[in-house]
């Protein structure tokens, strides 16, 4: 589909327009590749260099000698297997909690219409108004000593999982999607004798696959990218996430190892992105207006 944009197709069809278009296109493509892939290329290749080569000036564009051993060394010395496993464990735990609690809440608010439903949704959305960083200190104190149950969640995965449920934006996205499911479908299920739980499972969830995908990706990526909260709540090096673990080891390992570690740490989210880029990008713009 070619809708007309800033520059008219007629103008582009002229020889001068064609020339300018292709020049601009080539320049932009080369520039963008340099600016956005360049650093990644530098990261991966620097991880392959010997320490002497890494420190030399001017830096070499292509490694003179390749040392894949750096990657293995970084993996072992920085205990990346543990850091990656921890991050994976926190991310998918957070995903499971969000899928269960946030989907149930959104379904209730959208279709079951509880008393005070509007007020509850409002109170949830209110948390989007409060700058997140303002809440870090009182949230940290809460995790130190959770009220009522009086438990200290420091160094426990619950400190990541439970607060991740308080994602008003995800609840809002889900609720808006559930709102668009026709009432008649649910009424019909109810007449067939389906309970609310069964209606959710057999009618609502199968129809909501696109939005569930988007919410899931955002949930996993959010944990993968978070830094401040895991740094505060998981001080034990054996429990840390990739971000925090690499940061705290950064000064004590050689630079080519560190870069190899960064390349390894970047791989999972990059793979997620390359596989799900369509969902990620459409989810991003779907929620954009409501932020």
């Amino acid at each position: 589909m070619s809708t007309r944009t800033l520059i008219s197709p007629a103008q582009l069809a002229r020889p001068r327009g064609k020339f300018l278009y292709w020049t601009a296109f080539t320049v932009v493509t080369v520039l963008f590749t340099l600016v956005f892939i360049g650093p990644l290329y530098w990261m991966v290749t620097s991880g392959l260099k010997s320490p002497q080569e890494f420190a030399q000036t001017p830096p070499s564009l292509i490694p003179d000698s390749v040392h894949p051993q750096n990657y293995a060394d970084a993996w072992g010395v920085m205990d990346l297997a543990r850091l990656l496993f921890n991050t994976l464990y926190y991310a998918f735990g957070a995903l499971a909690f969000q899928l269960v609690f946030d989907v149930a809440a959104a379904y209730s608010l959208s279709k079951l219409r509880p008393v005070f439903g509007k007020a509850i949704l409002g109170a949830m959305l209110l948390t989007l108004m409060i700058p997140a960083t303002v809440l870090v200190v009182p949230q940290y104190l809460t995790v130190l000593d959770v009220p009522v149950v009086e438990r200290n969640l420091i160094n426990s995965p619950w400190a990541i999982w439970l607060p991740s449920v308080t994602n008003a934006f995800n609840i809002f996205l889900l609720k808006r999607f559930f709102d668009s499911i026709p009432r008649e479908l649910l009424d019909a299920a109810a007449i067939d004798g389906a309970s609310s739980m069964r209606t959710l499972r057999s009618v609502v969830l199968p129809l909501s696959r696109p939005i569930l995908g988007v919410v899931s990706i955002f949930a996993v990526v959010a944990v993968w990218k978070d830094f401040l909260w895991p740094m505060l709540t998981l001080p034990d090096p054996a429990k840390q996430t990739v971000n925090v673990g690499i940061y705290s080891l950064a000064a004590s390992v050689s630079e080519n190892w560190l870069l190899a570690a960064l390349a390894i740490a970047s791989l999972p989210t990059l793979i997620i992105f390359l596989i799900f880029q369509r969902n990620i990008m459409s989810g991003l713009t779907a929620g954009s207006l409501k932020g």
Binding site: P138, L141, I191, L262, L289
Partner: protein, 319 residues
């Protein structure tokens, strides 16, 4: 497994007539409403508990903390003393100056660059998918990776940026280690890391502009820049103002980039931001009262922007 069959049955069944519900005696209706509400609240309970403990209670606690103080292991009411303490801290004013500088620079770079990129990409008929993918790539990197990469690029000794400058005959810079360039260096790195999202949102907004408007403007003799000014910008005004507000709210809370790039404070405190000062009060000096008081100041300042954002986005969704 039974989902598809259930589905089919529903499709054939006519919707129940709204008035034809069996209307039992009053207390029957009440009991049904009660039961419906119990189910509804049962579905809400997990999220409600989490919100209560990890969001709503901390929100209240933030206000309480700001007026409390711990002395000799005892928590006492401190009145306004936390606030007067932070106002008298020279770091407070420095942190605000730096944060406003960061916000200002980030608005020039982080607001204009994604819009310009979106404008350019929208004109291309080839390779748009590839270019969009490139712009969003850094957003998916773990922050520790992108930030440490930039740390190497900025290194005055063997960093890539100085190599590039020298190769075209320009003097090298101290980048993060110079009070004059430290904040700008942080903003450049932060822009590279974060602008993908904004670019994609602008791109989507640009694609919804009706082509006839450009055609009409062109017939009236408007050049490219007048078309941008009289068509593109008015047509995307809502999304532009929303993103502007969102960016002000986000950049005023900047923490991770300066924390990882310069250790937070930077040379002579040149990159000390408000949130880093909150972090220092709370986690370096264990002074939660002052941290909460400073948080409250930030909250009050950002509340206006948040309210404007909520209002605008509601107005936008009703159109």
């Amino acid at each position: 497994m039974s989902a598809p069959t259930l589905h089919k049955n529903e499709a054939r069944r006519p919707a129940p007539p709204s008035g034809g519900r069996a209307s039992g005696p009053e207390h029957g209706a009440f009991r049904r409403a009660l039961k419906r509400n119990l189910t509804a609240h049962a579905f809400l309970i997990g999220a409600l508990l989490c919100f209560s403990i990890f969001s709503w209670y901390p929100m209240v606690r933030e206000f309480i903390l700001a007026f409390q103080k711990t002395e000799n292991g005892e928590t006492i009411w401190a009145g306004w003393s936390n606030l007067t303490y932070i106002f008298n801290d020279p770091a407070f004013w420095q942190a605000w100056r730096n944060t406003l500088l960061f916000t200002g620079l980030a608005l020039i770079l982080g607001f204009a660059v994604p819009f310009a990129i979106a404008l350019i990409l929208n004109e291309f008929r080839h390779g748009r998918g590839y270019l969009r993918l490139l712009v969003y790539l850094p957003v998916m990197l773990p922050p520790v990776a992108s930030v440490l990469l930039f740390k190497y690029f900025y290194d005055p000794g063997y960093g890539l940026f100085n190599r590039i400058l020298e190769s075209v005959g320009l003097p090298g810079q101290a980048w993060l280690q110079d009070t004059d360039t430290a904040m700008l260096s942080v903003v450049v790195a932060a822009t590279w890391m974060n602008m993908g999202g904004a670019t994609l949102i602008y791109l989507a907004a640009l694609q919804s502009i009706p082509g006839e408007l450009y055609e009409a403007a062109e017939l009236d003799g408007a050049g490219i820049f007048r078309r941008i000014w009289h068509v593109t910008i008015p047509q995307t005004r809502l999304i532009l103002s929303l993103m502007l507000l969102l960016q002000i709210i986000a950049t005023m809370q900047v923490f991770v980039e300066p924390f990882l790039l310069t250790g937070g404070a930077g040379p002579e405190g040149a990159t000390l931001t408000v949130v880093h000062l909150i972090y220092q009060y709370a986690f370096t000096f264990n002074n939660y009262g002052s941290a909460a008081a400073l948080g409250l100041v930030l909250l009050v300042l950002l509340a206006g922007f948040s309210a404007a954002y909520a209002r605008l986005s509601r107005a936008g969704s009703e159109d």
